[in-house]
Symmetry: C2
Subunit: 453 residues, 2 copies
């Protein structure tokens, strides 16, 4: 049997590995367009900032190791141009030689990943405009910044990639930085804590505005024009307005997609027999939204890859009923997390919502905090249905990863469809270096319970 | 109406406060035997070590504040000698004046707390023998150690109080310290990581031995004799062999007790009408053991106090169906947690158990760890039933509180009666400063799943 995997990222490699473990004799080929395999793209901001000094550390496993340990060749600089699903043939271009060849498969795993979202109005060729999606992008930015003398930058997009990158650019000595975007991550008052943290670090914000277009002022100067007629100039522009599935080659084929994301079921099967998809090119079922969605994050991508591989391998495998929408990120010294759905989404689903946002200590008030700020409070936001008392969503901001990672308790509560009173009674751990005696999650649930009917 | 609360600890004060909020006109009296109210006894090791410099910080609220804010008088140095449940009368002794008086109640909350467990064979009067249960004990030890010239100590009992205290004694300049006890906390291989941490910090261990008796060598020297004939000498002895309910005054009364712990139901009602109990003097229902147990820990004590108060106040209140057995503690730079039941307990309940213990990174391997050790691994132990796949228990050791506090995710999974495959699919958060892309809990669940039928 022959397996072809498109994409040498963790999702694709997980799938390939699972198949190999079950079938030492199968022919497995992985085609990767770029020069690297299996790297932690979530680490790129920390590579640019210099927190991660050794670039090689970002790479989990090299091609050579993967071949030696798993007996799976990953062919780099090999771009898959198209797939003929009827003939079960993949057309590949060798980027170095421009040679085009074909490969036949019995099973296909599509793990082409995501790519930076682009808006034509703000797409411009200029070497002071950065996108950071791949390790090569990060190398480019890092090399460029090194001794560049750049003093100011505008970051278009106020999602977590730019919130992480702003710290990296500041660490590289750029002090005049502005984040612009229609809205900051978080839809609630939790947002204020991110704003405060950005302000404390001298980051400017232009929120509630939509970039209309970009203008070249000079070879070292750029301008952003907003729809309201105002504008902003800086030495460079960083654009991160989202991630979209990297699936252009499948447009117009019979492969079923949803807004560009390949639709998969609970076993990572697409609508075409023996064709699987996993990771940032695919949909993921959202347990709280109760529908397929697109949320390209590494944990689900890894789970999907693993399941696709196990299904192809013929192993007994549990279905994957998707995510609840959990993510965490760091904004300077503020550690943030969210899970579940937003108030707007909840109302669309017919829930009668209410919410609480409480401020509390992250650990016992008398124990010295390990964070950079002594005794900075953490915040816990809960969104719930006042009729059924079910938890619907949560947000956290905290002075250390300890507090931010508490979002996992609420993600677990969501997966278990817990009510607020179930959360109130959780037996969460306590000792002074770990938490206050009333864990912030319990305090928030106690307050929320009073708002339930 | 008149409420009497025996015990000025958080459980008793929570109950009193809940009643006061509902009934500004009730007469409420709190009798406390000692000089202090509402302090964090879990902070005592850190007060002795010097991590907490300001002793007043341990006290959450003072008598004066409690009277002013809640209009509840707490009478200190007032020891309750007995309760006449038929007449609804409490007999109290004023410790300062030796005066004895009586107080009548309509509702009674017993929150007498716990006390250090004593074994007659190792009970000896000597000012180099320490117990640390109250703030006065801690003051005494701290004052005594100050310039005492003590060079060696034996800590009898290898539970978490002594594991926390050994660090405190070392911080006070005592370098020759030995922990002795029949067994170290944790019943599994997780134990090895605690041993390593103790060794690394120069702490000796004499485990698997039972202290037979104590001997006075001189006024500054003591000896522990073990049952196997061996013995050990040191300048002082610290004893922490457990905590027992402080309920001697109720022995022989009609108040129902279980091994000294007052039996309460899900509304903190005892077997006697209008008599409630809460906190370390009471039983707590264990959801996984499926029976009442005694596990004196602050979070449940606080929850119980709050519920007792709300029931007495006549408020609508959700029943408290107890704990799952969660606790966390710190051993030098190792942050430990456990939840659920042990293998022995599981087998007694008829489960067919298996377990996994995995070592993994606490955060992304390339991100600098905030702990004292760069890149120390964390361990995750899961105990489960191979037939039904249900999680039964878990243990964690980690280089920072971030990893230790992950035990809460497993405590939540236990409360939700999750199976291993439910845990595998949890949407736990990921970003390099917070976790590896496969959260250690997911890795452990993936390994465990293969051991399930």
């Amino acid at each position: 049997m022959k397996l072809i995997v498109i994409g040498g990222n963790p999702a694709g490699l997980s799938a390939a590995s699972a198949v190999r473990r079950a079938h030492p004799d199968w022919i497995i080929d992985v085609y990767e367009k770029g020069p690297y395999i299996s790297y932690g793209s979530c680490g790129l901001p920390y590579y640019i900032s210099g927190i991660i000094e050794d670039r090689d550390k970002l790479i989990t496993i090299t091609r050579e190791q993967f071949l030696e340990k798993r007996n799976i060749p990953v062919h780099i600089y090999q771009e898959v141009l198209s797939v003929n699903f009827d003939e079960k043939i993949v057309k590949v271009k060798d980027i170095n030689t421009n040679e085009i060849f074909e490969g036949a498969y019995d099973y296909l795993v599509i793990a082409t990943g995501g790519k930076s979202k682009m808006r034509p109005e703000i797409t411009l060729e200029h070497n002071h405009i950065f996108h950071v999606h791949t390790i090569e992008d990060a190398d480019e930015v890092k090399n460029f910044l090194n001794g560049s003398g750049l003093k100011s930058g505008i970051l278009i997009g106020a999602g977590y990639i730019n919130l992480e990158l702003v710290e990296a650019y500041k660490a590289q000595g750029i002090n005049n930085l502005t984040i612009v975007g229609p809205r900051l991550i978080f839809r609630t008052k939790s947002q204020e804590y991110i704003k405060k943290e950005l302000e404390k670090n001298g980051i400017k914000m232009v929120l509630g505005k939509y970039a209309k277009n970009l203008e070249i002022v000079s070879d070292k100067r750029l301008r952003v024009n907003f729809e309201d007629g105002e504008s902003l100039e800086a030495d460079f522009i960083q654009i991160s307005i989202g991630v979209v599935p990297n699936t252009d080659i499948f447009e117009g084929t019979k492969l079923k997609m949803m807004n560009g994301a390949i639709v998969v079921d609970e076993y990572m099967r697409t609508n075409i027999e023996n064709v699987f998809a996993a990771g940032d090119c695919a949909t993921v079922y959202h347990q709280i939204l109760k529908r397929n969605t697109y949320l390209p994050l590494a944990p689900a991508a890894n789970k999907q890859g693993r399941i696709a591989g196990n299904v192809i391998a013929g192993n007994k495998v549990d279905p994957f009923f998707g995510i609840v929408g959990t993510s965490v990120w760091k904004v300077f010294d503020l550690y943030c997390g969210k899970t579940g759905i937003t108030e707007t989404e909840a109302k669309e689903l017919g829930y009668e919502t209410d919410s609480v946002l409480i401020e509390s200590n992250e650990i016992a008030h008398y124990y010295p905090n390990r964070g950079n700020q002594f005794q900075l409070k953490m915040t816990t936001y809960l969104l719930f249905d006042v009729k059924t008392h079910h938890l619907l969503g949560a947000e956290i901001t905290a002075p250390s990863p300890l507090g931010g990672k508490k979002i996992d308790v609420l993600a677990t509560a969501l997966a278990a469809k817990m009510k607020i009173e179930d959360i109130q009674k959780l037996d969460l751990s306590y000792a002074p270096p770990f938490a206050p005696v009333w864990d912030p999650i319990l305090i928030a649930a106690n307050v929320a319970r009073k708002k339930c009917r």
